[in-house]
Every structure is written in structure tokens, then in C-alpha cells.
């Protein structure tokens, strides 16, 4: 501990936070630099894409289904009170696509994928596997981090689109508990309210979410030092940080779209 730390105890947490932010920025810039440098590890990238999709597909589907259902059942009485039941499909569709789909999917992926990456790389670090890669002249950052972050960046938006579709479908099922409507009519009503300004920011947002999920998992994993206990801590920290960052990104993107 340096003297600055002990003479300024009140500043210590802030100092530590800014240190983390600095280290993380360096890590992120290194990712950007290495991502464009050949060779591209295509096989590992596809393996990671498969893992990301395969591991979270079920969970995302179930949550999205329940979200669509609940949203429809709960807003129906209020809308019916105004005699505006016909607005329901459009309203559900807009809220799912703009907000609920991306955020819920991303938070689930943070829990499922960030923690997995953090634990995986963390245990590779403590068992010297990352050092072994380094000394056999294989760049571990390129091989491990770039492939994982690119995989989450590509897969999270796809999972979001999948979740949106499931939510709207489950909304249709919920609507049909009381009403009687064909699926084509329902989707007609739902999508008629949708505009580019609803879809575009949501896709951009999902891409950012994907990058955040991957890079935070990798960062926490690579920072592991010491024994196996720190692997658990890293996985945990990855989930917490990734979830928080997702809400921050969401807030910023919403502010920007608001201005536009």
C-alpha cells in the first residue's frame, strides 16, 4: 500500500474504482486492436457462438414466453377500461421490442455467459494454462478473449430477436384466452405500430449488451490471481458488473434515442 492510500482514506474507494476503470479501458482497447489483427480463429469463434446460443436458448425462451404472457394479461384490464383493447397487441409489441426483450435477454445472458467465461478463464489462469499458451508463442488474448467477445457480440442480438418473437407469440396466446383473434390478424395489429425508430436502437443496444457480456467475463477471468477461491469471486463479479453495465448502457441508449 502506498502512502497516498493511507493519507487519503476517504478517497480510497474512488481511487480503486478509477484504477479498475483504467485497467478495464486498457483491456477493452487491447480487444479492439487484437480483433482486427489476423489470423482470425474461425473454428474457436464458431464453437463459442454455439456454446453461447446453446447454453442460453432454453432459459431465454422460457423467460420471454412468461414476459409476453404476463404483460398481456396485466395490461388488458386497464386498456379494456378505456375500451382500447385493440391497442393491446401494438403496445405489447413495442414494449417487448424496445425494452423488455433486449434487457431481459441480456441480463439472463450476463448470468449464464459472463459467469461461465469468467470462471473458465479464471481457472485457466490459476492452473497456468494461459501462461502455457503464452510461452508456446500463442497469443492467449487473441485466442481466448477475441473469439469469446466476438461470439457474444454476434449471438446476443440473435437471442434478443428470438426472445422478441417468443414474447409476441405468447402475448397472442394470452390475448386469445379472452378474445378470439387469428394469429395473422394479431401480428398485423402488433407490427402496424412498429417503426424503425423502435427496432434500430434496440438492435444497436443488443450488440453493445453482447460486447459488454463477453468483455466483462473475460476481463474478470484474466484478472484472477492466486488460488482457486478467486475463480468463484471472478465469476460472481462478472455477473454483477455485467448486469449493472447492461442497465447503464440501456439508460444511455434511451437518452440518445430520446434526443433523436
Amino acid at each position: 500500500m502506498t502512502t497516498a492510500d493511507s493519507s487519503l482514506p476517504a478517497w480510497f474507494p474512488l481511487k480503486k474504482a478509477s484504477q479498475h476503470a483504467g485497467e478495464f479501458s486498457l483491456f477493452f482497447f487491447r480487444f479492439l486492436k487484437e480483433a482486427v489483427r489476423p489470423p482470425f480463429e474461425g473454428r474457436v469463434f464458431l464453437q463459442q457462438c454455439f456454446k453461447v446460443g446453446n447454453k442460453s436458448l432454453g432459459l431465454v425462451a422460457i423467460t420471454a414466453f412468461i414476459m409476453g404472457l404476463v404483460l398481456t394479461l396485466q395490461t388488458r384490464p386497464s386498456l379494456a377500461g378505456f375500451g382500447a383493447e385493440s391497442l393491446l397487441p401494438g403496445m405489447v409489441c413495442v414494449s417487448v421490442i424496445r425494452e423488455i426483450g433486449p434487457v431481459i435477454t441480456a441480463v439472463i445472458c450476463a448470468g449464464k455467459i459472463s459467469s461461465r467465461i469468467g470462471a473458465e478463464l479464471g481457472s485457466m489462469k490459476v492452473t497456468e494454462q494461459i501462461d502455457a499458451m503464452e510461452v508456446s508463442a500463442i497469443n492467449p488474448f487473441h485466442y481466448l478473449v477475441v473469439t469469446r467477445v466476438l461470439a457474444t457480440t454476434c449471438m446476443v442480438p440473435l437471442l434478443v430477436i428470438f426472445a422478441d418473437a417468443i414474447s409476441i407469440f405468447s402475448s397472442f396466446l394470452a390475448y386469445n384466452i379472452h378474445g378470439d383473434i387469428t394469429i395473422t390478424r394479431f401480428f398485423d395489429m402488433a407490427l402496424s405500430k412498429l417503426e424503425w425508430i423502435d427496432i434500430f436502437p434496440s438492435i444497436i443496444k443488443s450488440i453493445f449488451f453482447g460486447t459488454a457480456i463477453g468483455i466483462i467475463g473475460c476481463y474478470k477471468g484474466f484478472r484472477v490471481a492466486g488460488g482457486t477461491a478467486s475463480v468463484g469471486t471472478a465469476a460472481n463479479a462478472a455477473v454483477v458488473t455485467a448486469s449493472l453495465v447492461i442497465f447503464f448502457i440501456d439508460m444511455i441508449v434511451v437518452q440518445i434515442t430520446d434526443i433523436l
Binding site: E120, S123, M124, T127, E128, Q129, D131, A132, M133, E134, V135, S136, A137, I138
Partner: protein, 250 residues
């Protein structure tokens, strides 16, 4: 070849005045060391004396603070990342616990460095090379096993096999016999000797195990608190009157 380091030709490794500090604690304190062609040098020292730090500096897993490390004529502290990697390919590093990639089976572990450094190599050639090294380390049937299914001794052998895939001219062993029973230790030591004789590999063996030093060393260097305090053959050091040196040999 057996007794003294070769002075006439440039040694494979020449370390001069190596210093390294961690958080104000001096871990290496002016280490000088030479390793000749096909020579086995053992660094003997207690736990925490800076042995691992020494070999980590040699492949730049750890940045030295001061001093020069010349390996095969290149100062590894000064060269850039590309040159460093070109040199690393010629250096084998056996980690204390093997450091096998636990998501891949033994076959893929061995193929991994070659897939990156010998891209043009055909599948048949690759499989033949893998069979050869597995044969060399005495585990010809282990190809399909996962690292989690291997015992400590087997992991070290496979770790050794993996470093041999790139045909290194210098091997660095971090405690090759620690945590193994006497019989298995002997087998590993024999393997180290075989590799030296068969491929003319120079080796640096880090250990606190005197039996390992006795069996493998052409020359022993003793490290205490990051400084070299004695050097010589096993027999020379065994005759020493110094209490601290004696404590190892009894």
C-alpha cells in the same frame, strides 16, 4: 561435457546481474547463470527462494527489473514481441502441474502448438508426431484421455510431451518431481536424461528435491533468497562444510 560449463563457445543461456522485485521485496538479487549446449543445470533452493521467478523471467512471463538474459544469442529483455515469440517456440517450459488445457483431450493438447506454428502440416504427419512423443514419454495409449482423468505423474509427462512437439533446443522444468512418489519421480528424471541424450536439449531444472538433482544434474547451482550462493557438481557440493548446503544433502 559432464563437468564444467563450456566456455569456448557461446552458451545457450547467459544470465547476468538479474534483479527482480515484487512489492518492495527483492526476489532475485543479482543472479548470474550460464547453460551450455546439451547441459543439464539444476537450480536448487528452498520454497520461496525465487526459483519460479527466475525461469518465468527467462520466457518473459515476468519482466525482470535489471540485468540481461541472453538465450541463443538474443537478449530476451530487449527484443520485440514477434522476435520473442520466435524464440519462445524454441524453448520448452514444463509447468509445475503440467498446465494441460483441460477443455481438450490429450491428443488435441499435443496438436495445439503445432496447429498454430506448423499450419501446413498434414493430418497424417501430425498424428505420427503425436504418437512418437507419446511413445517417448511412455504413454502411447493416452491420446483420447481428458486431462482430468490423468494422475499427477501422467499430467507432467503429457505436459512434457506437449513441449517436445515443437522440438525445443532449451527446456525449462519447474519442479518436475514435486508432489510425486519416489518411483514416479525416478521415471520423470530418467525421461529428462533421455531427452537430453536423444535430442541434445539443454535444460534448466528447478527443484528442491535433492534426489532429482543428483540424478539429472551435470552442474548444480544453489539459490538462497534470490542470490546464487554455491555452484558445482553433486559430489563437490556434497563435500561442502557449509551448514546451509549440508541441510539439503542430508
Amino acid at each position: 561435457m559432464k563437468m564444467e560449463p563450456i566456455e569456448t563457445v557461446e552458451p545457450v543461456v547467459r544470465i547476468q546481474g538479474l534483479n527482480k522485485t515484487y512489492n518492495g521485496q527483492k526476489v532475485l538479487n543479482g543472479v548470474d547463470l550460464c547453460i551450455g549446449k546439451a547441459e543439464n543445470v539444476v537450480v536448487l533452493g528452498k520454497s520461496g527462494s525465487g526459483k519460479s521467478t527466475l525461469i518465468k523471467c527467462m520466457v518473459r512471463l515476468s519482466e525482470p527489473d535489471e540485468g540481461s538474459i541472453s538465450i541463443m544469442g538474443k537478449d530476451i529483455v530487449k527484443i520485440n514481441y514477434q522476435e520473442l515469440n520466435a524464440l519462445r517456440v524454441k524453448i520448452g517450459f514444463l509447468f509445475q502441474n503440467g498446465a494441460l488445457y483441460d477443455s481438450m483431450n490429450v491428443h488435441d493438447n499435443l496438436a495445439f502448438p503445432l496447429r498454430h506454428h506448423r499450419k501446413h502440416l498434414g493430418k497424417e504427419k501430425l498424428n505420427a508426431m503425436i504418437s512418437e512423443v507419446l511413445e517417448n514419454v511412455g504413454l502411447p495409449e493416452a491420446g483420447n484421455k481428458m486431462p482430468a482423468e490423468l494422475s499427477g505423474g501422467m499430467s507432467k509427462r503429457i505436459g512434457l510431451a506437449r513441449t517436445l512437439m515443437l522440438k525445443p533446443s532449451l527446456m525449462l522444468y519447474d519442479e518436475p518431481t514435486s508432489g510425486l512418489d519416489t518411483a514416479t519421480s525416478k521415471e520423470i528424471n530418467q525421461l529428462i536424461l533421455d531427452m537430453q541424450r536423444k535430442y541434445q536439449i539443454s535444460s534448466l531444472i528447478i527443484t528442491h528435491d535433492i534426489a532429482c538433482a543428483k540424478m539429472t544434474a551435470d552442474r548444480i547451482v544453489m539459490l538462497r533468497d534470490g542470490a546464487i550462493v554455491a555452484a558445482g557438481t553433486y559430489d563437490e557440493l556434497n563435500k561442502s562444510n557449509d551448514e546451509w548446503i549440508k541441510s539439503f544433502f542430508n
